[in-house]
Amino acid sequence: MAPFDFTGGPVNGSPNGCPVRVRDLELSFGDSPLLRRLDLDIAAGEFVALLGRSGSGKTTLLRVLAGLERRGSGTVEVPAASAVVFQEARLLPWKRVWENVALGLRDGARERAHAALGEVELLHRAGAWPLTLSGGEAQRAGLARALVREPRLLLLDEPFASIDALTRLKMHELVLALWESHRPSVLLVTHDVDEALGLADRAVVIDGGRIAAEIPIDAPRPRDPSSPSYVLRRRELLAQLGVLVPNHADSPSTFARSAA
């Protein structure tokens, strides 16, 4: 398979004005296809949630956009300034928190790292060793490490999956606040329907390596999970993910609803 045409992307966006433009992306591992003729656009400043079952290809797509996956064919355009927040924070345990944030920065690294840590409210832990951080703190450090690069595309790979429910709610607020002040395009990979409905402008469902559904979410934030439109979209999304919800379970107060 020929390597795909991976470009750093034009600074002012591709012809249709979207900083992220994916066309005909195909990628397989051995004989099993992971991504099949996949197209995706993300507009400047748009917050997109990518949902899918395990093995649907959602993480593979994120890895392609992050430049960590170079096999496959098709066209991929992403901004040169893009940054990833991984599922486990992946902090280097032998570097202090601020040094992790400053990883790979050239000039003014210390000041910029501290400023970014301030933005995620982790300045008091700047000199700490990563293994002493709580799960939520580690993810905030991961977020700071991405933010400090002033990304035009922020890739979030299930960053809240291993955090307890209450901390996750706070992280959602933090991510929204940061997105609103910096306005990068965001691709959030998640398996949590409520996370997608609470945060994103658009939910994209991937299944079997191709886009199965796109659901725009235009409600103003913060969003009320008990509003009829929320409940409707939630049901639609779950159906796309292969979960059929009986009527009485639609209310977000039941146990079927995940923590977000």
Binding site: F86, K95, L103, G104, L131, R145
Partner: protein, 274 residues
């Protein structure tokens, strides 16, 4: 406090207000008893001085050898040999581990040779080393270097291979090039096992020095021991052995000190510091 509430616990021994845990005291009883029996055996000629000198004699000899300057001179010679040999061996082991650990070609060419050489009983190589390098300083250093290279090679290579690939990938995602990744991720990640290897290397270095210094040496602790054998001076032999043991302990303690400083970030050390 009502003492009857804790009946089973014996009271601590007290000397001038310093209390000693009875458990610690118990552990000293048997070694002291052996030492006492040894001393008595020597005094009543059950243990002949030509086989093993009395503890008090050994202590006195240690003192006189130190005072005469003989022991300090031989000690510095031995220490110098270990340091030079160890430095050469550790550098060689580390460089080879980096070559094997960081490139496939390096792995394919270096590792089979190292694994093969590792199986050689290096202490048995001294006759060959004498034939190659004569009976001067060099074969002694070569033996020490040879012995200490392998522990460092094996542990550093193992450490490099065990570095979490997810951390390497993260470093690449944040724009680190290959050299920066090696410096920021791979080497620090492999440091902990490499330091354990350094401690093994120290043990092997001292052991091979004991053997090496018995090859026609005219200085060093090994020479002191061999010379004493000719005069049936068992007290000097034991002093030499004890000095080897103390040097081994001291150098090991230094590496552990380095370990605590360099691996400050590890959970076990963080817990102790708290």
């Amino acid at each position: 406090m009502d003492e009857s509430a804790i009946p089973a616990r014996p009271r601590a021994f007290r000397f001038d207000g310093i209390s000693v845990d009875p458990k610690v005291v118990r552990r000293f009883i048997s070694p002291l008893a052996i030492l006492l029996l040894w001393q008595l055996g020597s005094m009543y000629h059950v243990i002949p001085a030509t086989k093993l000198a009395a503890p008090t004699t050994i202590l006195a000899t240690f003192w006189s050898l130190s005072a005469s300057g003989e022991l300090p001179r031989d000690l510095s010679v031995s220490l110098g040999r270990v340091l030079v040999g160890l430095l050469a061996g550790v550098c060689a082991g580390a460089v080879l581990a980096l070559v094997a650990g960081l490139s496939r070609t390096g792995d394919d060419s270096v590792d089979p040779v190292m694994q093969g050489l590792r199986t050689l009983p290096y202490l048995g190589m001294s006759p060959l080393l004498i034939l190659w390098f004569g009976i001067g300083e060099f074969p002694k250093l070569a033996l020490v270097a040879f012995a200490s290279a392998f522990p460092v090679y094996l542990t550093l290579l193992g450490g490099i291979r065990a570095v979490d690939p997810k951390l390497i990938e993260a470093a690449q995602a944040f724009g680190l090039d290959r050299w920066e990744t090696i410096r920021a991720v791979i080497l620090p990640g492999a440091l902990a096992p490499a330091l354990v290897g350094l401690r093994y290397a120290l043990g092997a270095a001292w052991l091979s020095l004991v053997v090496g210094e018995q090859i026609n040496a005219d200085r060093g602790i090994g020479y002191l021991i061999m010379d004493a054998r000719d005069f049936l001076r068992t007290d000097v032999i034991v002093v030499g052995l004890l000095v080897y043991a103390l040097l081994g302990l001291a150098t090991d303690a230094i590496v552990r000190l380095v370990e605590r400083r360099a691996l400050e970030w590890r959970p076990s050390i963080l817990r102790e510091a708290r």
